[in-house]
Homo-oligomer: 503 residues x 3
């Protein structure tokens, strides 16, 4: 069992082992016990000379307030921003630079929320101080999962085995239920029951994954059927903003069936959980339930304090504060997304290289992009008078230019226009380098945002290629890449997300 | 004389007795004396482990800064928000949930400003921690009144008797002058003089109330006439935003007469007070007065610190911090706005009940609302195929439906459309319940905001029906309510605003 | 050498002597040494009972965070605002009133950023607590200059003599390079080299001034030529927003030449500095440079902490906290911008006075303003039925009115419409007073903003008339002012910016 989280980044709930989860739940329970025995501030020497940076690029009251309270009760101080209105200068400042600035400002730990998936892994890569993910896009919010686990642990007599839980609201679009159910799958005899419209139901990939991990997942016909058979019912907000094409009337009708109201809970000993906030217009939980014995989500909210306090305590209790390291390691600007292709030197008649002796040939481009690629590479602005370029009407248009090389931004822009371009560098009439440029397909992934300059990087997760940042699976689609080339590439990249060596 | 404010909510200046006001003035004077003798931080152990939540749903610099300074000097910490830009998630979060979250975050005291009248009484009802009203809509701002009283108390040799004060600016639209003059009416030999345009003058109801309480109120012809006869002149900002239909030229002309300038104060020993900020475009106080001996509003601003420090000290000095109570008492979801009507069982031919055996009949509706009521009750969405409904062209249209019952939100929506509906529940062809649904008529009252789910509640203030939240008088207008029914209802409701039993 | 900054306002880097700069650099080095030897909080008793007001009328993360960190490490607390969204009430509140409010809230030191030039001098004039300029419009940002100096001092072995520095990016529009180079001109053997487009190059007036102060300034053909010959290269952001009429293509081409990339720094021992943030879209520094040995701007950012910590330490280490002074000295509402003109009593036939016996005559007005001036003086609203006014078609239109006198706001409004009006007060048919009303010509100067009511004031800087607030030179253009009159005026005004006597 890991007993230290000193200087550990908290990025994804999937990074936690069962024993780590139990360790933190115990630590959280300890914080709870201190509070209930009137010792709220008994650890207030821990962080007396420590400071928390709260960097909320998206508004937050709840998560932010919870971290700040936890830090305050540990004797530490907080500063930062919530929303970017008051920091418009940051609009054109990279996350990299902002993280470095926070280091320069001697913050000992950073909690950050950002709309881009993978932004927190990148922040952790850059930062010498430990980083806590307060929500990266639609990706992860690990301290929410941890506080949910603490709540279940405490309600279930300091145990996470044998839990029977219902899920409601929106199982399809939110990350909360996915994170919590995967975390629960570490434990024994877990039963999950749910009832929801098809389009709000549990995604099949999640069901399958849970089944493989011996979690019993049962779909019931009605909410009431779920309620009767579970100890805990975890309600979530229907994410209306992601339900295009569904009429208002349909949602109202739907909510009548799925709203948690007194009728559904009365006579039962079920505890209603919710990550909060409840949407007061939809009212996925009826107001009367707030005043009933079933309501357990405010307890759950307070457990957020205990979990965050436990986490900060474990992260900061040991050792001295971190001195700012004013240099960034070279490794941080290196991607590993260039899938090398073998160069067939004997192909004498290769029609696209014999016309130039120095330059770059781009192959396997999408048709019809000639002008866009001109713009992206700024061919005209660069004044290359002797460009020889052509994009044929054939399946594999290509483009030749006497540019000596392409910058990382140019390659990325190119890949955004035409995924998986093959890049050939020509020297003395010969191809000296040939690779496919891979870029994560998740449109909200930080590696795709040009001005952020995050190097695309992948790792080999038991045969599955994953983006280091947003962790989405990547499938190579380039027809010309041979299985051998792909396998060589896979072997060459890391087998896991390891910290970038630094400092 | 009350000598403790421990865990006391501060909602309205009208809740304070003369002795409480004097007690707090003395406490404020003590804070003043500490400051002036160089002991600003001598009480900094008081709140060493206490925290203040500053929840400003409307922007504030002055009041917020003043509370935070007071808390800082008492050794405590503050966190919260000012404006809701950085907390957009809150748009659909109820005050109830936000208050509970603040409790979950272990705040020991809450100061809150909110645009809805009565929102602070509701917050106090919900919160286990004491709540201070930092301004609820156009309703109350009691710490402003208290600091004004402290200022007068100090300037007047530690005494509030015998004060002679002038009022200027806008006596009609602001709450400042109303609050202050009512508070002063507790004391002896108070004289109020004023000179203003008719439409900015003292409202007759206030004049009358003050007269009944033995305050001498005198209207003078000109500001200068007031100035000559008073010790203090309390200027306020003309609330232009509430003066529709008044031309710009009229206002400029008006300000020439009523603006406080050097000419008006020179040679006099009058002290100018103002709640601040002065509107720099209107300049209701000329800039030269800022630099004159008459200017006393910056002293008054500092007295805001002393009063708030005294208040926080009195509220927090005793006892331990409050543990978060994660449940809300059932009582909080109960309104008392259903005025029961007697059911005349013998009325055999009552035309509107004999047609249905199970359902709801709504009577005394405003004409022409058939479609709106359909929408509000979602009759179509609910798929009630067998609705029998009719709204006649008569004075009292009614509507029958086979809905089993109406939710609180539906009743409230209905009452917003058509005030004082009579609701009849029919079971087995008989009326089993019959009541008039009352809803506060103040359009800015929190009880009228559907998603907030605040139960409408009234109390009987010496025969006057008042809204528990915004405290506006309510007059029953339903013609059919008999004096006996009304009197029974009045007797059944509370005689005062008492705390909701909780925790 | 000044060894105390107790209660000293920090307004402009040009106010610092060489010895003061060296003293602060030594103090900053001391803070650096404490940090590096693990004593970050060893001075945390200094500001235990001190508080910093951070008033950022324009958004800031960097400067604000840096001051707050510095204060925190010295044991003090901070509060304030960043951006004015959360403080909309302030829209119509003057800086004067806000500063007074901050005093009433017992802040011991104020750091402020404001969009108006000269706003910080005005804040310092008003405030009893010392004020630090965190940026006033496009005018000054002295703590940036001080931290730049500290960085050079430290990198250059605790010495500012003999520095050889390159400047890049935008030498023409920013204040950073101007401030730094002027500050460096205090020291020996300074060499500045630069290469930039003409329109971004060093302004001739700055070159000349530096040359006079024995700084060697050399324009090179290319960035690389600069790099080779300097120890430090200070890059700045091209201020695109000020480059109207320059095409996007032109800027891209330009950046190719001037962007700092690996090619330009490789093989050299140059250290790249930058005030940050780097604009991530323009990328005036290529991302690879961030990960190279040449990158020194993050070190520079941390030196911002050391410098601000040194400054706050020096300002607050001595003496007790300042008690709020609730009155503003009379002197603060006095301008000195009325250039007296001699009255020629014998001019019998002066056509513009003989028509009225009591009133004001305005002369030397711009043609065509009759209606505007009517509006500004509100002649119609004031109901002056017997106005006699005329504006001739001649070069010097004039206007007569029977207004007794003009308010300061009226005079200022008049001068905004028609610079340097001559004002004649007529009593008993005779001119009793005659003056030219001077108003700073800098359109962003705080003295020109009517509702702020800042009195226009000038000082005589070795023969040059300067605005006290924005410090721009003022040249009298009124043809009628005689050299003698001008000289008399110059002699009568202060010879330097001295604190306004107060408190």
């Amino acid at each position: 069992m890991q007993t230290t989280f000193s200087h550990t980044d908290i990025i994804s709930i999937t990074d936690f082992t069962a024993s780590q989860i139990l360790y933190l739940c115990e630590a959280g329970r300890h914080m709870h016990d201190l509070e209930k025995s009137g010792k709220r501030y008994s650890l207030s020497d821990t962080c007396r000379f420590r400071s928390l940076a709260s960097m909320f690029y998206e508004p937050s009251t709840r998560t932010r307030a919870s971290f700040i309270t936890a830090m305050r009760e540990l004797g530490g101080q907080s500063d930062g921003f919530s929303g970017t209105e008051g920091t418009s200068v940051m609009k054109k400042e990279t996350i990299r630079d902002t993280i470095m600035m926070m280091g320069a400002n001697h913050f000992d730990v950073i909690v950050m929320r950002h709309p881009l998936d993978g932004s927190l892994q990148w922040a952790a890569d850059i930062s010498a101080s430990p980083v806590i993910n307060g929500g990266d896009g639609k990706n992860e919010h690990p301290t929410q999962a941890l506080l949910d686990l603490l709540t279940l642990y405490m309600l279930n007599n300091n145990n996470l085995d044998g839990i029977s839980i219902g899920f409601g609201g929106d199982l399809s679009h939110g990350r909360t239920i996915r994170s919590l159910s995967l975390a629960l799958s570490h434990f024994k005899n877990i039963t999950i029951r749910w009832a929801a419209e098809d389009f709000l139901g549990m995604p099949p990939d999640l069901s399958d994954m849970l089944a493989r991990r011996n979690v019993k997942v049962v779909r019931e016909a009605a909410v009431k059927d779920v309620m009767k058979q579970v100890q805990y019912y975890y309600m979530t907000r229907p994410q209306l903003e992601r339900m295009e094409g569904i009429s208002q009337a349909r949602i109202i009708e739907m909510m009548r069936l799925y709203r948690i109201d007194l009728q559904k809970v009365e006579g039962l000993d079920v505890k209603i959980l919710h990550p909060l906030p409840v949407n007061s217009e939809i009212a996925e939980i009826d107001y009367q339930v707030f005043f009933s014995r079933a309501q357990s989500f405010f307890k759950q909210a307070e457990f957020g304090i205990f979990m965050r306090k436990a986490l900060l305590y474990e992260m900061l209790k040991d050792g001295d504060y971190i001195h700012f390291n004013d240099s960034l390691p070279q490794k941080l600007c290196e991607g590993n997304n260039r899938l090398p292709r073998r160069i067939h030197e004997d192909r004498k008649h290769d029609m696209f290289i014999d016309k130039i002796t120095e330059g770059v040939v781009l192959d396997h481009l999408k048709p019809g992009l000639r002008r866009d690629i001109d713009d992206v590479l700024g061919l005209e602005d660069k004044g290359y008078s002797c460009i020889t370029a052509a994009i044929t009407g054939k399946k594999n248009p290509f483009l030749k230019t006497n540019l000596k090389e392409l910058t990382e931004r140019e390659l990325k822009s190119l890949a955004l226009l035409s995924p998986e371009p093959t890049v050939n560098y020509i020297r003395n009439g010969k191809v000296t380098e040939k690779f496919v440029y891979l870029l994560c397909g998740n449109t909200n992934c930080i590696t795709r945002i040009i001005p952020e300059d995050v190097p695309p990087r992948f790792y080999n997760d038991e045969g599955i290629l994953r983006c280091r940042y947003c962790r989405r699976e990547y499938r190579v689609i380039n027809r010309k890449v041979s299985p051998g080339e792909l396998e060589d590439y896979r072997r060459a990249i890391p087998q896991a997300i390891l910290p970038v060596e630094q400092h």
